[in-house]
C-alpha cells in the first residue's frame, strides 16, 4: 500500500485536472440524453472550471489550519461522491450541481495532493510530479472522455473516477505529512506566470474544446475518431520534456517558445486545406509541444521559492481554470455567431450544386424537397444530409449522380463548418500571443 500511495495521489491530480475538459466529447450525448439545450450543456464544462477557479485560493487558506492528509482525504471523498452523483444525474440541473460539488472536492484534493506528494517525495520531486500530473491530465482529458463515451456512455466518464478516488482517499490518510503551521503570506502571487497561465489556458480551450466540436459536429466524426485524433496533443506534450532536456534553454525562453508554438498550432487549425483528419495532426503536435513546454515551466515559476506552497499552487489553479472559463466566454459567442452566419453561404452552396447537378428536373425537385425537409428538421445544428439521400425516391439511373451530389454537399458543409471555426481558432492564437507578451514584455523594475 505504502508504495502505491504517491502514484495514487499523482493519479488523483491527473484525474481532477482532466475533469476540466473530460466531458467535451460527451457534450453532444449529454445534450440528447438529458433533453437540454446547447447553452445549458456548456455549463457542464463551465461550472467545474468556474467553481475550481474560484474556490482554489480560499481552500488553500484552510490548509494553513488543518491536517493536510485529513483535508485531502475529505476532498478526494467529496470528489468521488460527486463523480458518482454526476453519473446518476437525470437532469442537466442535477449534473451541473454535481459538477460544482466535484470541483469543490477537487480543489481540496489538488492542494492536498501537492502537500502530500512533497511529504512523500521531497520538495523538488513532489512539486515536479504534481505539475507533470496536472499537465498530463489536462492534455489527456478530452481523449479519455471521448473514448469512454464511444465505448460505453457519457456516464462512464464519471463512473471510472469513483474507484480511483476511493482508493486515493485512504492513501492520503496514510501519508505522514508535516503538522500544519500558519505561515504568514510571505510572498506575493507571481503575477506574470499566473497571468500567462490564465491566457494560455484560455487559448488551449480553443485547441481542446473547439477542435473536438469541429471534429464531431462540423466534420461529423465519431467521438472515438475525434478522441484518437486529439490524442496527438498529449503525445506531443510528452515529447516536450526530452526536447527541452536536449536543447536546455532558459526557463523564460522555454515558456515563450511554448506560447509561440501554441499560437502557431492554433493558426494551423484555423486553416486546414481539407476536412481530412490528417491535416489537424501537425498543428495539434505544435499545440501539444507548446503545452508541454509552457504550462510546466509557468507553474514551476509561479511556485518557485514562494511560501506558503499551497497558497501559490492555488493561485496557479485559479489562473488556469478561470482562464478556461475566460476562453469559453470569449470563444463560444464568436463561434456560435460564426456558425449562424455560415448557414446562408452553406445553403447557397447547396442550392448551387443542386441546380447545376446532372439530374433529371424531377429528380432535382425531389432532392431539393428532401434536403429542405432535412435542413428544417435539423435547424440550429450542422445538418447530416445522409438521411435525405437515403430516403430519396429517384430514377435508378440517377443514383450515381445523387451519390456524387451527396459527397459534394457534404464537402460544402465541411467547408462551411471549418470556415465558421476559423475566427475562434485565430482568437485562441491571439490569446496565446498575449500570454507570450505577458512573459517577454519587460516589466517595471522593482524599487525594493
Amino acid at each position: 500500500m505504502r508504495r502505491a500511495v504517491a502514484p495514487l495521489l499523482t493519479l488523483t491530480v491527473a484525474l481532477v485536472l482532466a475533469d476540466s475538459a473530460v466531458v467535451t466529447l460527451a457534450l453532444p450525448d449529454i445534450l440528447v440524453n438529458l433533453h437540454t439545450t446547447v447553452g445549458q450543456v456548456a455549463w457542464v464544462l463551465i461550472s467545474f472550471n468556474l467553481v475550481l477557479g474560484l474556490v482554489a485560493v480560499p481552500s488553500a487558506v484552510v490548509f494553513d489550519r488543518a491536517q493536510p492528509r485529513l483535508l485531502t482525504a475529505a476532498g478526494i471523498a467529496v470528489f468521488a461522491c460527486a463523480s458518482a452523483w454526476c453519473a446518476s444525474a437525470g437532469s442537466i440541473e442535477v449534473l451541473v450541481g454535481a459538477r460544482c460539488v466535484q470541483a469543490l472536492g477537487g480543489a481540496f484534493a489538488l492542494l492536498g495532493c501537492l502537500e502530500l506528494l512533497v511529504a512523500a517525495y521531497g520538495e523538488r520531486r513532489g512539486v515536479a510530479t504534481w505539475i507533470s500530473a496536472g499537465v498530463a491530465g489536462t492534455a489527456i482529458g478530452p481523449v479519455a472522455g471521448g473514448l469512454l463515451t464511444q465505448a460505453f456512455s457519457w456516464q462512464a466518464i464519471f463512473i471510472v473516477q469513483v474507484p480511483c478516488a476511493a482508493l486515493a482517499a485512504p492513501a492520503a490518510l496514510a501519508v505522514r505529512a508535516a503538522t500544519p503551521y500558519v505561515l504568514p503570506d510571505r510572498h506575493r502571487p507571481a503575477l506574470r506566470p499566473n497571468l500567462a497561465l490564465a491566457l494560455l489556458s484560455a487559448a488551449l480551450t480553443a485547441a481542446l474544446f473547439l477542435l473536438v466540436l469541429l471534429l464531431v459536429e462540423g466534420w461529423q466524426r465519431s467521438p472515438a475518431a475525434a478522441a484518437l485524433t486529439v490524442s496527438v496533443v498529449p503525445v506531443a506534450a510528452l515529447a516536450a520534456r526530452p526536447l527541452a532536456g536536449l536543447l536546455r534553454p532558459p526557463d523564460e525562453v522555454e515558456v515563450a517558445v511554448g506560447c509561440f508554438l501554441i499560437a502557431g498550432g492554433l493558426v494551423g487549425l484555423a486553416i486546414p486545406p481539407s476536412a481530412e483528419l490528417a491535416w489537424t495532426i501537425a498543428p495539434q503536435a505544435l499545440v501539444g509541444l507548446g503545452l508541454g513546454l509552457a504550462m510546466d515551466r509557468l507553474t514551476s515559476s509561479a511556485l518557485r521559492l514562494r511560501l506558503p506552497r499551497a497558497r501559490h499552487a492555488a493561485w496557479t489553479l485559479g489562473a488556469r481554470h478561470l482562464g478556461v472559463v475566460l476562453g469559453l466566454a470569449l470563444l463560444t459567442p464568436v463561434f456560435t455567431a460564426d456558425l449562424r452566419d455560415a448557414q446562408m453561404p452553406a445553403e447557397e452552396a447547396i442550392t448551387s450544386l443542386v441546380l447545376d447537378a446532372p439530374l433529371q428536373p424531377q429528380d432535382k425537385v425531389a432532392v431539393a424537397r428532401a434536403l429542405g425537409e432535412e435542413l428544417t428538421s435539423q435547424q440550429g445544428r450542422i445538418p447530416d444530409l445522409h438521411h435525405a439521400f437515403a430516403t430519396l425516391d429517384v430514377d435508378p439511373a440517377s443514383r450515381p449522380a445523387t451519390t456524387t451530389l451527396e459527397r459534394d454537399l457534404d464537402d460544402q458543409l465541411e467547408r462551411a463548418a471549418t470556415h465558421a471555426f476559423r475566427d475562434s481558432f485565430l482568437l485562441g492564437a491571439l490569446l496565446a500571443v498575449l500570454a507570450l507578451a505577458a512573459v517577454v514584455v519587460p516589466g517595471r523594475r522593482s524599487t525594493r
Partner: protein, 203 residues
Amino acid sequence: MTAGPRVLLLPVFALALVTGVLGIQLAHGGASFEPLRPADPCAVRDVSAQASGIEGLSERLVLLGLDGAACRLHVSREALVLGLAQSGPRSPAQLAALRAGLLDAVQKLKDADALPPSSALVDDTLDSSDLNGFVKAAIRAIPDSVINSALPTDDVLTRTIDNLDLHTLLANLDDQQGLNRQLAAAVSHALKDSLTGQLPHLL
C-alpha cells in the same frame, strides 16, 4: 556550446516548425477551404440539361431565367431561389424580375441558335395539352416545315411566359400535377395565340 547560441536553438527550431506547418497548409490551399461562392448571375453561364425535348428546354430556360432575374434584383441566383422557395407571397419585384429573366433566356437561346424547331417540341406539347383530339391529330398531320414556319419556337415560348401566372406557379411548386396543368394551359394558350398571330402570314 556557449550560452548565446544555445538560447537560440529552441526558438529557431520552433520557428522552423511553425513556418513549415503553416507553409505546407497554405501551399495546399489552407486559406481557401471555404464554401462555394455563388457565381455572378450577370455573367454568362453555360447551362446544360440532362432531359431532352421540352423538359430539357424548360430546364435551361429556368436556369438562364433565374440568372437574369437575380441579375436584375442584384442578388445571387441561389439567394433568389432560396427566397422563392420560402412560403408566403412573393414580392411584385421578384415576379417581374423572374418574368423578365425568362424572356431574356428565350432571347439568349435564340441568339445562340439553341432553340429547337417547334416541330421537335410539338409532340411533347400536344401530349400534355388540353386541346381536343381532333385538333391534336390535325396538328400532328401537318408537315414539320409548315409547323416550324407557323409556330416559331421563340414566339411560342415568349407567349407562354407572358401567359404564365407566376404567383400561382410558385405557390404550386410542391404540387407537381398542378404545376404541369398550369404549364400545359399556358402552352396551349400560347400555341393558339401564336397560330392566330401567324395565320395571316401563312395565308
